[in-house]
């Protein structure tokens, strides 16, 4: 076939230009470490890289959130741990104070220490975190959550909302427990019901060993054990007005059962004495300690008073136990969250490693391949250049001299 000289020239030239373009590209790939120089190089991979990049960014953020969450959980855990120690000390003091051989002055000292502890507990409940937020105020973080009002009652000024943080795609975790939950909404009595002596009782009868024996039969209603004579009593349901048990013979130390619950009556009740069995209500831990102080400061003067004192001390111990139970529950919940968080973080880390690898496989250049490409294209260029010189030297005019 006939070939025009210009065709020969341009073919050789195009060969060199192509090689040069390939070299420039390979060089850019080696320099940047990226296989994809623009999305058009591999549209499918580029779209994937973009979406993986987005997920990786989110995982980084989730990890940071999880770290922060751990910090905040541990803030509460520390404060609650101190509160638990404090309540255990108060419990010891209460047992000490219940001792009948103590003088009024001794009980006064104990009451004073418990008053100190009460203030200390309030301080713990008003703890701030590193960011200056009150950790037990719910989301009202700038509000001092626990203050004492004019009547001497500790009131809660925070709210019951708690903040959540995102720790994984579509997963949030509550970062805290509100002060209302930890310190205010503590069930008194045994958690299901509470017993009370009528203020007008003249006998030394009291109640103890209160338990729910049949949870299915238990109804949260008000009952009254009313002594019609010193050795006879009725059990009346005050909510419905019905008499549940009529004219029961009183045996000191015997259990009385009704409404799925059982209480033990002891002492010497007088005719007309009444004992209330009511559903448990919320009582703040501060009120529990306050009641204890009040009891200790009013020493018993007679048998009825001693019965009332002992009963009140038992009640306080019971309430302290409820408060401790509640706090241990919160601690357990924080522990469980910590574990879940740890698991989630390790999932996040695994995912992050996996995604980074997938992203790198898609967009990063294989250095060995890139460098060998570069060498290959350089060789091709050299060959094209040599061919050009050779072919361009082949002119008949060279021989016409």
């Amino acid at each position: 076939m006939r070939i025009a000289t210009s065709t020969q020239f341009y073919r050789a030239l195009n060969g060199m230009m192509d090689s040069q373009a390939q070299i420039a590209r390979a060089q850019q790939q080696v320099g940047s470490g990226k296989r994809l120089l623009s999305a058009a190089d591999d549209p499918a991979a580029a779209a994937q890289v973009q979406s993986i990049g987005e997920r990786l960014g989110a995982i980084d953020q989730f990890t940071r959130n999880a770290e922060l969450l751990e910090l905040r959980l541990s803030d509460q855990e520390t404060a609650i741990g101190s509160a638990v120690n404090l309540l255990q000390r108060v419990r010891e003091l209460a047992i000490q104070g219940r001792n009948g051989s103590l003088s009024a002055a001794d009980r006064g000292f104990i009451a004073r220490e418990i008053t100190q502890r009460l203030e200390e507990l309030k301080g713990l409940a008003n703890t701030r975190n590193a960011a200056g937020e009150h950790i037990f105020a719910g989301t009202a973080v700038d509000t001092l959550p626990f203050t004492t009002d004019a009547s001497g009652t500790v009131v809660y000024n925070g709210n019951e909302n708690v903040r959540s943080l995102s720790i994984a795609e579509g997963r949030t975790m509550v970062e805290a427990h509100s002060g209302a939950e930890v310190f205010m909404a503590v069930r008194n009595g045994n958690g299901s019901f509470v017993t009370r002596l009528a203020p007008a009782n003249t006998g030394s009868g009291r109640l103890s060993n209160d338990t729910v024996v049949d949870p299915a039969a238990f109804l949260p209603q008000n009952f009254r054990i009313s002594f019609t004579a010193a050795n006879t009593f009725d059990v009346i349901n005050d909510t419905t007005g019905a008499t549940v048990l009529a004219a029961q013979a009183y045996t000191p130390g015997a259990a009385v059962s009704f409404n799925g619950l059982s209480v033990t009556l002891s002492g010497n009740p007088a005719a007309g004495d009444e004992f209330m069995v009511e559903p448990s209500a919320n009582q703040s831990t501060f009120a529990t300690l306050g009641n204890l102080v009040t009891t200790l400061r009013n020493p018993p003067l007679d048998d009825a008073g001693r019965a009332r004192f002992n009963f009140a001390m038992d009640r306080s111990l019971q309430d302290i136990d409820r408060a401790l139970e509640g706090m241990l529950e919160v601690q357990a919940s924080i522990g469980a969250k910590g574990n879940a968080l740890l698991a989630q973080r390790s999932i996040n880390e695994d995912l992050s490693i996996q995604l980074s690898k997938a992203k790198s496989d898609l967009e990063d250049v294989d250095p060995v391949r890139a460098i060998s490409d570069l060498a290959r294209h350089s060789q091709a260029l050299e060959a094209a250049q040599q061919a050009f010189v050779k072919v361009q030297g082949l002119s008949l005019f060279n021989f016409l001299r």
Binding site: M1, R2, I3, A4, T5, S6, T7, Y10, R11, N14, L36, S38, A39, A40, D41, D42, P43, A46, A47, Q50, S51, G53, E54, G57, A58, Q61, R64, N65, L68, A131, E133, A137, G138, T139, A140, V141, D142, T143, G158, N159, E160, N161, R163, S164, L165, S166, E169, G170, A180, M184, A185, P220, P279, S280, A281, N282, S395, L396, F397, L400
Partner: protein
């Protein structure tokens, strides 16, 4: 003897012409579009001398231009296709690198990260400042992307004008060559004007790079040139001038027009091939859809965030307002419309928003809405307002038949995007309402945190009590109204909020939902705002923001990749067409060198013939003297 002189001179002349033509070929070996020339020789008619015919030498029959019209046309066609693909690929590559640059996705990520940081510490002013900065950066990216795409649109308009000018001047040059060729052919009594023809072919090739043309050669040697699907550009010595004019309904689009009887007629659609077609296809298939996609993303980000932000409470205790500002949907009415129309975007219907523009016309009874990217039409009957594809079309003045509108819901939105808030306190991250159980409750029922269903309910933050009756199988709202049966965990919707109560309440237990005063650490609405990141609220609820951007990137990347592949293939095709034409018409220097040697020898031979004739003459003279 005189004959020998005459034969020798004819040979000298012929070989000298051969040498000159070879020289001409060598001189033009590198001239673009040059076709090699060959001198055709013919022996002179012989003379009868009784014993036979005696030769009288050689004549130059003509100088021919070696070319092949089919190969030349094929080259023009290939040049058109290659120029089209090349222009498209180059421009698409610009959009591809603009989107791959990776400035948008990180801006979006930074925004979400900053949002999360505020969620982690909602009362922190510095974190809120950072979020405002990140939101501003995001809106800047939107504006920047939009500005660069619209700049490309303006550059493209200038490019169109430049190409049309070049085409006009090439057409002028072809027309004037037509005249020269007709004249030269006349002077040469039908002999082809070789070099003028080459020049014209080169001009036609340049024209075909701008737009696909057909050239019809007339009997007088002139050529008529048509562009695309039959638009006359050159008619013998006359030309038809193309011009550029702004689109009547979208002034940002330049259109190609001709002047017909004093009126501009738009011919943009009838042009195919060449750089012009590449530019126009790029505008229709890449640039405008990309700009619309960016606009749509801006709308969805702005409107979804505004809706969620309004459902929150800021640090000053007020309900949130708009978080982002954005541009509005555009509607352009044709001159002479009777009716009026306004178009708004529907924040409740973001998922149906498309990246297309729409043409709306009225046929006397109904509106016909055409979606321009798919060509799908639908009839809108009645007085409206019409809710279509995330838009609300509201008719003002009643329309008449022939009314036309161009609706561009997304094109001009991104450039108006900005952050509507400057005070970090006004970022509304908190739940506007909070719920609580009354401390004196004896039941174990718990109330969930409220979620906002309708932030525009006037009574949203009004303190509301849910009180359980005796027996606690029913409850009342605020102690009045109907007794509502209680099911643990079912939704309780009042005043635009929703809560669930779970567990066993006791008669008289009550729960309160009220304004979330002091909830400075609350992030419930912030979490909902962060949740939008992974919500599939675009494209018929199939795509998140990032998905939508990924789709745009993927689409442009695929278009660019395909354009590059076809450009490379067409370039090879063009090279082959060029080589094929040159294999016939191009100059081969070795061939010319060989010819040079051959013709030189013939010339020397002819000179020897003259010398022989001279010797014969001298011999005769000597004999006469002797």
């Amino acid at each position: 003897m005189a004959e020998l002189f005459s034969v020798g001179i004819s040979a000298l002349n012929a070989n000298s012409r051969l040498l000159t033509t070879t020289g001409h070929n060598i001189s033009n070996a590198n001239t673009e579009g040059y076709s090699r020339q060959r001198v055709t020789l013919a022996s002179r008619p012989p003379q009868y001398i009784g014993s036979g015919f005696s030769g009288k030498g050689v004549d130059i029959a003509g100088i021919a231009r070696i070319s092949n019209e089919f190969l030349t046309q094929n080259l023009r066609l290939s040049a058109s296709s290659e120029a089209r693909a090349s222009a498209f690929a180059n421009l698409a590559g610009q959009v591809d690198s603009l989107l791959s640059e990776g400035s948008f996705s990180p801006a979006m990520e930074k925004y979400f990260t900053a949002l999360q940081d505020v969620n982690n510490d909602p009362s922190s002013i510095p974190a809120r400042q950072v979020l405002l900065g990140a939101a501003g950066n995001l809106t800047n990216r939107f504006q920047d992307l939009d500005a660069r795409l619209s700049q490309m649109g303006r550059d493209l308009n200038k490019d169109l004008a430049a190409k049309v000018n070049a085409l006009n001047s090439l057409a002028g040059a072809v027309a004037s060559l037509n005249q020269d060729i007709v004249r030269a052919t006349g002077i040469g009594q039908g002999a082809p004007a070789n070099d003028l023809l080459d020049k014209r072919d080169a001009l036609l090739k340049q024209m075909s790079q701008i737009v696909s043309i057909t050239a019809n050669v007339q009997d007088d040697g002139s050529v008529n040139v048509f562009a695309g699907s039959g638009q006359l550009l050159v008619n013998g010595p006359n030309t038809v001038k193309l011009d550029i004019a702004a689109n009547a309904l979208d002034s940002s689009r330049a259109e190609i027009v001709i002047n017909k009887g004093g009126a501009s007629v738009q011919i943009t659609g009838s042009l195919t091939g060449g750089e012009l077609a590449g530019l126009l296809e790029f505008r229709d298939q890449v640039l405008d859809p990309a700009r619309n996609a960016v606009g749509r993303l801006a709308i969805v980000v702005a409107d979804s965030y505004n809706t969620q932000h309004r459902a929150g409470l800021d640090l000053q205790g007020a309900l949130g307002g708009a978080l982002f500002n954005r541009g509005q949907a555009s509607v352009s009415a044709a001159g002479g419309n009777t009716g009026t129309l306004s178009v708004a975007l529907d924040p409740a219907n973001l998922a149906n928003l498309t990246t297309s523009d729409y043409a709306l016309s009225h046929n006397g009874t109904d509106f016909i809405l055409e979606r321009l990217d798919t060509g799908a039409t639908q009839t809108l009957s009645g007085a409206g307002p019409f809710s279509v594809d995330g838009m609300i079309l509201t008719v003002g003045t009643a329309p008449a038949a022939g009314d036309r509108y161009l609706i561009q819901p997304t094109k001009f939105v991104a450039r108006g995007m900005s952050v509507a808030i400057t005070d970090p306190q006004r970022l509304a991250f908190a739940n506007p309402v909070k719920s609580s159980a009354t401390l004196a409750n004896t039941g174990n029922a718990k109330i969930s945190a409220p979620t906002v269903l309708n932030s525009s309910n006037a009574a949203l933050q009004t303190s509301t009590q849910i009180v359980f009756n005796d027996p606690p199988t029913t409850y009342q709202v605020n102690g009045a109204g109907p007794l509502i049966p209680y099911t643990s965990g079912s939704n309780i919707d009042v005043n635009g909020w929703r809560v669930q109560i779970t567990g066993a309440p006791v008669a008289g237990d009550s729960f309160t939902v009220q304004a979330n005063t002091n909830g400075r650490g609350d992030n419930a609405n912030g979490l909902a705002m962060f949740g939008l990141r992974s919500s599939e609220i675009m494209d018929g609820n199939t795509a998140t923001y990032q998905d939508a951007f990924g789709q745009l990137l993927g689409k442009v990347a695929t278009q660019t990749q395909q354009a590059r592949i076809s450009r490379d293939a067409l370039r090879v095709q063009l090279d082959n067409a060029e080589a094929a034409r040159d294999s016939v018409a191009g100059v081969n220097l070795d061939e010319e060198a060989a010819n040079l040697v051959r013709y030189q020898q013939s010339y020397q031979g002819a000179a020897q013939v003259i010398a022989s004739a001279d010797q014969m003459f001298q011999a005769l003279i000597r004999a006469m003297r002797g």
